[in-house]
């Protein structure tokens, strides 16, 4: 029997995190994780961190990490917002910036968390279908709206847009806040950070989880005008003042300062991606031109769902989405060269059958 107090419990369909296997020996290329460890400087931070300092609260403003990010992007500390992963950053941004009766708009094929946040915060939303080539049509984004969020590069399509696209988007949306989610930009996309000086209503979000190999550390950030950042800070400080812990602040800073390692890692992943793309095309796959650390692929004469299930039996985990329009596509994260060789070997085995 439902008791009276139960009627005040929130009814919501939770986001279900991706599949994890307990088996350590799998090729795990299903969560867009980086195959390489973080900068060796991060290892030093952990080894040298004095646990005595943990008795104290972290710096609520995480100044030293903000400063490292600001310097890297050529902006001021007041232009940087930090959170517990970019999911936290975007969730705060939705609450802080999308308070309209008009719907928030985004592409139909995109990060599946956007509608979840809209539901959680009771924000109306609407999506515009991407084209048959999976490209976002900027002309769709001319209608009045309560805000725009677009990942660039987009996921799971892997396609990236240039600054001309973003400039047009800003031109059409001078009355809305526009968020560009750049989680995957470091793998060959074009960052719109330089445009924040021109557009006070533009917010760029990014994460340390992909290109900086720190998914386990939970650091996300946003860059935008002082007006936008101050509203994010007010909402964050009304929710939880200390979202980034003391170890993450130091680890994030060390990663940001080691630019050589960062660029090398990104370069290796891009090279592997290009090789895998070429080999798969050779095998008859259609592979989209990726600007991310994953590829999005199909083969017309083959069930991608069956292929996904088959690869799992070979301990190779890729990602399949049971979503209209892309039900015959798979998303494959770029692992190390060794991992991708195993993937390609098993894939060949399946295709030849």
């Amino acid at each position: 029997m439902e008791k009276l107090w139960m009627k005040n419990l929130r009814k919501i369909d939770p986001y279900v995190p991706g599949e994890q296997s307990k088996n350590k020996n799998i090729v795990k290329i299903n969560a867009n994780e980086n195959p390489y460890p973080p900068s060796p400087e991060v290892e030093k931070v952990l080894k040298n961190f004095s646990s005595k300092n943990l008795r104290l609260y972290p710096d609520a403003n995480a100044f030293s990490l903000k400063k490292a990010i600001a310097d890297y992007y050529g902006v001021e500390v007041k232009n940087v917002f930090l959170g517990n992963g970019s999911d936290d950053v975007i969730a705060v941004a939705f609450q802080a910036l999308f308070n309209s009766d008009l719907p928030v708009v985004y592409p139909d094929l995109t990060y599946s968390f956007y509608p979840v946040w809209c539901s959680l915060f009771n924000i109306p939303y609407k999506n515009y279908p991407v084209g048959d080539d999976f490209r976002i049509n900027v002309e769709d984004y001319k209608e009045p709206n309560g805000g725009v969020i677009i990942p660039n590069p987009n996921a799971p399509t892997s396609l990236g847009e240039g600054l001309d696209f973003v400039e047009k988007l800003m031109e059409y949306n001078s009355d809305s806040v526009v968020i560009i989610d750049e989680a995957y930009v470091d793998f060959g996309g074009v960052s719109s950070v330089p445009l924040i000086k021109k557009y006070e209503n533009l917010l760029i979000t990014n994460t340390f989880s992909k290109s900086r190999s720190l998914a386990g550390m939970r650091i996300g950030f946003a860059i935008g005008s002082e007006t936008l950042i101050s509203v994010l800070e007010a909402v964050k400080n009304s929710y939880n003042s200390y979202t980034v812990d003391s170890v993450s602040i130091e680890a994030g800073k060390a990663s940001m300062l080691d630019d050589r390692y960062f660029k090398e890692t990104c370069k290796k992943i891009i090279a592997t991606r290009e090789r895998v793309t070429a080999e798969m095309r050779e095998m008859g796959f259609k592979v989209l031109d990726s600007c991310a650390n994953f590829i999005f692929a199909t083969k017309d004469d083959m069930s991608m769902k069956d292929m996904f299930e088959y690869l799992k039996t070979k301990d190779v985990y890729i990602r399949y989405f049971s979503v209209p329009r892309i039900e015959n596509y798979v998303r494959i994260s770029i692992g190390s060269d060794d991992e991708m060789d195993i993937f390609l070997k098993e894939l060949k085995g399946y295709v030849k059958k």
Copy 2:
């Protein structure tokens, strides 16, 4: 000029985190931080943690840490919820459990974040004044409401209530969810965790920031019925799936398993608190009977605000609240014996003037 897009920005008065000094040589007894380092096992976790693992997302369910907490409290893993500090846990609980048109109720003198969360989530709220002795009158909590939250021990009053109080509260509130915030319970309070088996609508929250000296690591938790915990999980997974990072999971687990160190630390703080309380009473202060790691005190013939300002000039930082009814009180966190000796020396110097 306000632009059109600015009208959709959230207007909110942020919570302002407490004062921090850049001077490292101060006696900082203003934030209820623990003067002792965390368990030496935490130091080992940091030294031995392989940064390579940080490339992967943490276990979204943080099973190993939940298991350590469940075992400690004699409950099941399904009765435990984890968050990025107890502020995150309580913020999720407000969103998940307080969805009523009736006001959420709590004491007038209590944790100042409660009304901030209510404002952020548009939850109506109301408070009941504590008595002149600062005790919470359980009879006030008989009226229909949208939920109850009470810290036990309460802050900043330091007063604790027994299980009889909580049982009565539950009897009067069988139609609401009741949250008991036990952030300070390990310093001599009585935990209501055993009551969760009797009351399915009772949620207990706690933190690793105070008694476990891990404020810098951001770990909070809640214990309650499977019904309540599953609603918290659904809301959390609609906000951010990975709130507790990989290092925090291991550090928290190590702390939870080192019970001997934990109990010793709590005992030392209690002993110091009793000594400081006695010495201050000797000097003519009224000091409430504390069950927490801080004391709440006044002196009728003296301005506590002036005393607070004076101590700051001596590099001793205590906490003063410019809040009606307690504008002549100060809150003093219990530091190490050495820190408290400095505090007492400076206090004597001020009182003798």
